[in-house]
Symmetry: C2
């Protein structure tokens, strides 16, 4: 078994991105990330502060907008419109989830697709869907959702062939399984999307050369899901009584898998770096 070390790759990428930001600044371009945090959700606060920290590390300007939970949708949209027009802001991050009464859809749809570094806007999702190949995605500088993007980078960095392979994605969420499937397809994998209604899920997964688990169920994927030598990518981050764990039962699977991502330190470690990457790309456009 070989470990896919997201943490190490993310650290390398950050150094590269830092150099890129410095070069851009010399050409008079300064990437800037606006973050919007509505309400006081503790987990969301941590996520946003980690993103701001990453900006500081890389020399990206950040504009933080902490807003009270009782703000109206119209007020959030007014702020978004201001940020759309602000040339110092290359990317806008609206931290989700929003407090209950607010529609994430209606707010996200008002973010300019050119500044939608989380790739949440339907226009950007549609563009990604339509792309005919991974090269087209990169050449046209389409926004790729951060976590799925991190998965693809990890496969690349470890030289794992995707084209022609059978990939099974477990889960079909809009931020997880669906974009992962879209990207694997763009890399010419034969992609199966499995989910809670799939019959004989272990059997379906045992046909996979590459398994990507994005389900949010602690240690759900065990060795009876895994063909010997398969690549196992664990996108899950679950908080349990014994600490963080993934959707894959790492200890149970590690001896049968050919490659495996740990949790923490695997895919999750890539997400913020890919957000920085998207912000820098948005600035360079």
């Amino acid at each position: 078994m070989q470990l896919i070390e997201g943490k190490k790759i993310a650290a390398q990428m950050k150094l590269e991105l830092k150099t890129r930001v410095e070069a851009m600044k010399k050409r008079g371009i300064e990437p800037g990330l606006a973050t919007i945090l509505v309400g006081e959700d503790p987990a969301s606060r941590v996520y946003v502060s980690n993103k701001i920290k990453a900006c500081q590390e890389l020399g990206i300007r950040s504009f933080h907008h902490p807003l009270p939970a009782d703000l109206t949708e119209e007020e959030i949209i007014a702020l978004i419109e201001n940020l759309n027009a602000d040339i110092r802001v290359s990317g806008i991050l609206l931290q989700l989830p929003l407090p209950n009464k607010l529609s994430a859809d209606r707010c996200v749809n008002r973010i300019s697709p050119l500044k939608d570094i989380d790739s949440l806007h339907p226009f950007n999702i549609g563009k990604l869907c339509e792309a005919k190949s991974w090269n087209e995605i990169l050449e046209r500088q389409l926004f790729i959702p951060c976590t799925p993007y991190g998965v693809m980078i990890l496969l690349d960095k470890y030289g794992i062939e995707v084209s022609g392979k059978n990939a099974v994605v477990i889960g079909r969420s809009n931020l997880g399984g669906k974009p992962v499937a879209t990207l694997l397809l763009s890399r010419n994998a034969t992609v199966t999307i499995a989910h809670s209604r799939t019959q004989d899920l272990p059997g379906v997964c045992r046909r996979a050369d590459i398994i990507v688990a994005v389900i949010g169920k602690p240690r759900f994927v065990t060795k009876d899901f895994v063909k010997p030598g398969a690549v196992v990518i664990d996108v899950g981050i679950n908080r349990t009584e014994t600490g963080l764990c993934g959707d894959v039962d790492f200890d149970n699977v590690k001896d049968i898998a050919g490659w495996i991502t740990p949790v923490p330190g695997g895919v999750g470690a890539m997400t913020i770096t890919m957000l920085m990457n998207n912000t820098i790309m948005a600035a360079s456009k």
Copy 2:
């Protein structure tokens, strides 16, 4: 083997739609379809004239705009903007392909997503992708591309269960395989997208309860692709020396399949009816 008769279903649906249009007119709403045909491509002319004929049959107003092939993109976009603003026009159909020098993308992106009855606009593709279920797609009145929509209606009308079934879609085009896969997933199928890079394609297909062929290769799918009793949906329309044929070798497959669509008279017969359905939905919004 049971035949899935698209032609028959389309005729029934047209009657229902005609009644719906009459009822709408009584409430003062008249659906209208604008068709834009650029250049003289004979096949495109036939397609557009069939769409106009269907409008006449159903009582839908049609506004045809035949344009010379040497028109500029700006001129086409100006027409599209006019049609976007025209309240008599509920749907805009830009017949593709466009003559070479014109960008279909740039033109399609200017069609109002509210009038995009072919569901070509990235915003609408993204909305469809994001929908969590078939019910959500219908309730939110999202635009569904016509041919994939026809596939789903045929499965419905013949009472074919999709949820929990293994579906293999052969082909990944933007108008064919990808939206078919999206819709089957919204109906809780376990969906595999196979294509030219798939290894052991017959073997992959033999696991399918439902096969949808959208590849554009005459009689490509033979009985070694088909599990006994499987549902075989043929989206292909290929012109050969011996006439029209599908992507499925009908005679070779018919005795092993449980259900099969013929070509012609199968999926293809549904497309224009679904376009009419989308136009009427756009008017009723």
